[in-house]
Amino acid sequence: MRTPDPQAAAAEAARDAYGRLVAWLARRTGDLAGAEDALADAFESALQSWPRDGVPDRPEAWLFQAARRRGIDAHRRRLVRDQAEATLELMMVDREEAPSEDHRLGLMGLCAHEAIDPGIRAPLMMQTILGLNAEQIGRAFGVAAATMGQRLGRAKRKIKEAKIPFEPELDRARLAVVCEAIYGAFGIASEAGLRDATQDALVLGRLAHRASGEDPETGGLLALMLHVDARRDARRLGGRYVPLDEQDTGRWRRDRIVEAESVLMAAARHRRPGRFQLEAAIQSAHAQRALSGRTDWDAITDLYERLLAHNDSAGARLGWIASLAESRSPSTALQALNAEPSEVTDTQPGWALRAHLAEALGQDPRPAAEKAIALSPDPAVQAHLSTRYFATR
């Protein structure tokens, strides 16, 4: 899905079959690390040979048979001292057919279990479902491969040793946690301009949407990520940070926007609004500027108010207040900002918004801008704020 060339498509097919088999084995054995081990060699040879020789007619059956053959070899070598439950399981399945059920959504639920550290949930999905290794995931998140490997290993050991159960069906609450994990990784990655990680999160989002039978909230998540991803090239211009309302809409990716809109519309037909659909709707309203040349701030304020009723967060509150400055007036927005607690206002976006409102009201924006700059982790954002508020005029 990253690029349309046949080699990438073959690798994609290998990852798809791999994820299905890992999920199926992990469900049967409760041993996620064992499932990965049992399939590792077969997956490696699929990644090498499929782009060269073409994808086999039945990718999962190919991978399954290769893993079985190798599993038996490995088993002969290691004898029984090893508790490779997944390998034994693989050998005992007495049929030619590869497993047909898709338990990848259940595997996502397992990776996003409440007893797993929230920061490792999405990386764990990327490893077990997309077949990415610790080095690739570490690079995607800007973490050393060894550190990422240790954290992934620890999570998998916990799943096995503490016996975290594999639930093939996810209820809405657990599906929401899965969406949260995927979006969390996507958000961190796109803020930091980590291209691979955003694309991996997008692949996971598509998968969760398909596997959940197109649940409206997974649709909302997917549409939200597509909208944000559409603006990727417009957010940076020659290394310079460009805020949303100053972006050149000609640099937005139309195919992403079109897909986002169609996914969001299909989700909205369920008439079951939720946090991700509302966030996607806000991004959709911003995307309209590419067509009409203007932004409907009344609609955005209204959507933020509905979002806050579903999911109250500092980010949503600041988004709502920023929209008030446009749909009502900067002084209404400032009043609303002053009514917020420090957890909301004493943040980078909180100070940046205060500087913006001060400027709009003819006050000195620099004290607030100074704080926003000090709290910005991204040098490009720091440079943007410095230029905007401190350049000699």
Binding site: H113, A115, E161, A162, K163, I164, P165
Partner: protein, 115 residues
């Protein structure tokens, strides 16, 4: 699957154990929790307060004995239950009902199988 439900209590709860005005209520909640767990419990103990604890360390062959618990924190080990549960989800559900979850905390850990 065997899990330890490890109970961490704050000072106020340790004091309640011997406070004539509160001890009946305190012990009643623990009795109720024990009953709730029923035959899932295979062992456990309530521990005396940390003022009775002695910590021993051996370093380079030298024994160092110290008055007090291993780590001086606000929440202190008050006792534990050994329980039987199907998986971590069930163990967490059982631990949810532990009285110290409301005041201190409860830790759930799988028991290391020996042999």
């Amino acid at each position: 699957m065997k899990y330890a439900v490890i109970v961490y209590e704050i000072d106020d709860q340790f004091e309640a154990r011997n406070d004539p005005a509160r001890k009946d209520e305190y012990w009643k909640t623990w009795g109720a929790y024990s009953q709730f767990l029923g035959d899932r419990v295979s062992g456990g103990a309530a521990l005396q307060g940390v003022e009775t604890a002695t910590t021993i360390r051996l370093r380079d062959g030298e024994r160092k004995v110290q008055d007090g618990p291993f780590a001086d924190t606000k929440e202190r080990l008050g006792g534990f239950f050994l329980i039987e549960a199907a998986d971590l989800d069930e163990a967490i559900r059982l631990a949810n009902e532990c009285p110290s979850a409301k005041t201190g905390s409860v830790e759930v850990r799988p028991v290391l199988p020996i042999g």
